[in-house]
Symmetry: C2
Subunit: 428 residues, 2 copies
Amino acid sequence: MERTLIKNITEGRRRIAGFVENFRNKRTMAFIVVRDVTGKLQVTIEKEKHPEFSEMLDALTVESVVTFEGEVVKNDYVKLGGMEMLPDTMRIESIAEAMPIKDDSDIDCRMDYRWIDLRREQNKVMMQMQTTLTAAMRDFLLERGFVEIHTPKLIGAASESGSDVFEVKYFDTKAYLAQSPQFYKQMAMAAGLERIFETGPVFRAEKSFTNKHATEFSGFDLEFSYIDGVEDVMKMEEELLAYAIGKVKEKHGEDIERLFGIPVVVPTLPFPRMKLADVYRELEERYGYKVPDELHGDLTTEAERMTKQLCAEKYGHEFLFITDYDAKERAFYHMRDENGVPQGYDLIWRGVEITTGAQREHRYEILKKQADEKGLGQDVEFYLQFFRYGIPPHGGFGLGIDRLTMLFLGLSIKEAEFLFRGPNRLTP
Amino acid sequence: MERTLIKNITEGRRRIAGFVENFRNKRTMAFIVVRDVTGKLQVTIEKEKHPEFSEMLDALTVESVVTFEGEVVKNDYVKLGGMEMLPDTMRIESIAEAMPIKDDSDIDCRMDYRWIDLRREQNKVMMQMQTTLTAAMRDFLLERGFVEIHTPKLIGAASESGSDVFEVKYFDTKAYLAQSPQFYKQMAMAAGLERIFETGPVFRAEKSFTNKHATEFSGFDLEFSYIDGVEDVMKMEEELLAYAIGKVKEKHGEDIERLFGIPVVVPTLPFPRMKLADVYRELEERYGYKVPDELHGDLTTEAERMTKQLCAEKYGHEFLFITDYDAKERAFYHMRDENGVPQGYDLIWRGVEITTGAQREHRYEILKKQADEKGLGQDVEFYLQFFRYGIPPHGGFGLGIDRLTMLFLGLSIKEAEFLFRGPNRLTP
C-alpha cells in the first residue's frame, strides 16, 4: 500500500514510515513514536498479539528507520493528535547506532554529524523556509521577464573584490574560483539579455572566524538593464524582499515564531533610505556614537549593528538602505554622479548588511579610468572588453541566501548552511 | 517616461531602448532598426526636422545602444509589424566599436566574444528556454514537497566517480571541487529531509574534447526517500521531464522549431524501458550491430547513438530507460537485487545519455562491502558514516541542464552553455 504522510493521517488502514523518535519497550506493550518530515505518530504494539515483531523490537533503537502498516484509531489518551496506529506489519529499514551527539552538543561537534543535527525540527523548518524564500524570489523575477543564467565558477583571472580567491590546479595552468558572478552577470547585460538572475555558490578565501563568514555560501544575484538610476535597483530589491518575506510568513511564520521566537515581519514599502553621513549624525545624536575619522566614508561594523535600533526607533522598520558612501570605499564599477558620489547602496537588515547594490558604470572610458585609479587595469582587462561593443545602462545586487536564513532565524552562519565551510572546516 | 518593450508597442507616444540592429544614414533620412529582448522596431528620422540628432547620427554604429522617445505610427511600407517610431528625443547610451565577430565566425572565435554571440535570436531563445525548463522542473518538485538544498562544492576528499577532480589550494591544506552532489544529497536523506533537489555547478577535470563534455556544467539533482524500488525513481523522472518539456513547448515550441528546425515533442508516459541485453539483441537483429564482448555489461557510445533509431522505430518515442547493467560497470552505491543486478538505469534521449539514476544501497554493511569491492573503502569513509545512524531507503538521479539544452536545440555543449569551460577554455 502507499505510504501516508503523518500530517495527512486519518483513521483507517495506513502505512507510515519514518525515524524512531521515541521507543518504550515494556513487558507486554511497546510504544514507538514515528517521525516523518511532516509530523509524529504513536505506534502501539500489544506484544502478545505480535510475537513476529519480538526480534525486531529487541533490535530496535532510537533514530532507526521503520515502516509500519496497520489500523489507525482514535485514542484520547495519546498526546500526539489523539491517534495511534496498531500495526500488523513492521519492517526495520535501517538500524541506528547510539547517537554520537545530543541537541545541546556544541556546534562543532554537531557539525561533525550534521546529518543527525539536521533532523531537529528547527533545522527542517529552516530548510523549508529557505526553499520558500528562494522559490518566491525566483517567481517574482520570472514574472518580470528575468532569465536564469549559470555563470562559470572556474575563472581564468583572479577577480575584482578585495577578498582573496581560491586557486585551482587546472590541467597545466591555474584557475580561480569566482568570488561573485559580478562580471558575468554584467556580461549578460552586454549580451542583451536585459534581466537576469542566478543562484549559485560563491567562494571567499578569507580566514575569518566570525559568526557570519563562510568560505562558501549560496548567492542570489540579479542584474537588469535600462534603469534610470540606482533608485530603480533599490525599488526592485525592496519589492522582491517584501514579496518573498510575505511568502515565508504565510507558510512558515507560525513555525518560525514557535521554534525560534522571532516573528516574521513583512516589511512595508518603501524601505527607509538614509545617506551614510546622516546615519552617522543620528547615531551620534541619539546614542553618542563617535565614528573614527578615517572611516567616515564607510560603515563600521559597530555602526552597522547600531542601525538596527536607529531603524526601529526612527522608522519602525527592520530594513535600511544606506547610500552616498565614499568612492574610495566602493568598487570601481559603481557609477558615480557628477560630484563623484557612488550610485550604490548597502541594504541593512536587523543590523547586518545583506546586500551591496548599484547602478554600474557602463561607459567604457569612465569605467577604465575608475579601474585604473584603483590599480586594477590589468586584472580586469577581460571585463572591460564587455563594454566596447554596446552595452545598456544597468544595475543590480546580490544577496546571500544563507545570511538571509541566519537573520530570519537568529542563527550563526554555521547553523544556517546545509553544510558549513570555513577555514578549518571541509567535512563532512 | 517609462520604457515600453517592443513586443508591447502600440501607436502613441512611447519610449524604446535597445541595440542598433541596422542603421542606414541617408542624405535626408536615417533609418534605425532598434532591437530589444522582445522584438525590433524601425525608427525613422527626417534629418532636416532634427538637426540636434545630426552629431549623434554621425557617431552611431551598428550594435550601439540607444534610447528614443517619440510618436509610434502605422506605416504599411515598414516590414517590421507595419509600425515605426518618429522620435523627437534620442540618446546614445553606448557606442559599439566595429564587431569583431560575425554570425558565421567559427565557434572558438565566437566564444572569445561570447557576449556578442549571445545577442543572436537563437541564443536569446536558448536562454529563455533553459529558464522555462529549470523553473518547470523546480515547480514540479516543490508541488510534491521537495526542498531545495545547496551542497558544498569544496570538499575535503576526492569523491566517488571515475572522473578526475580539480584540486584547490585551501589555506594550508587541499580541497577538491565536487564532481557531483551525490554523497551530500544522500546525506540529506540521512537527515530526514525526505525529498530534496539542487541546481548547481558540477566540475569534471577530464581532458575531453567531445561536443558534449565540459569541465564545468550545471547539474539538476534530486533524491527522495521511502521508495519501494527503482521503478519509483524512473516514474518520478519521466513525469518530471514530460511536465517540463510540456512547458517548454507551450512557451517556446514555435520559436525553437522556427530557429532550430527541431520540433519540441512532449513525450508520452510511461517512457519505454528495456534491459541492456535486449537493447543489444535488437540492435543486432535490426541493424547488424555487433557489441564488443568485453562491453556487454555497459552501453557503448555507438550503441547509445543507435538507440535513437531503435526507440523511434520500436516505440515511436524519443526517450528510453535502459536497465540491468552489469554491477562491474555501475557505482558501488547502486542497490543490487538478489541476483546482483544493479537497481539503476540510464535514460537516453535522442541517442544521448542524459541521466544515471538508481535506488541507492542504504544498508551500511552491504554498502561498505560494495565500496570495498571497488577498492574505495578509505576514500568514502566519511560517506559511509551517513548510513550508521538510521537512513531511509531512497533513490534519485541527476540531469545536466546544459546537456538537455543542447539536445533540445541540436547544439554542441560549447554553444549550449552561457559560457563554456573546457580544458583549453577559461575565458572570457
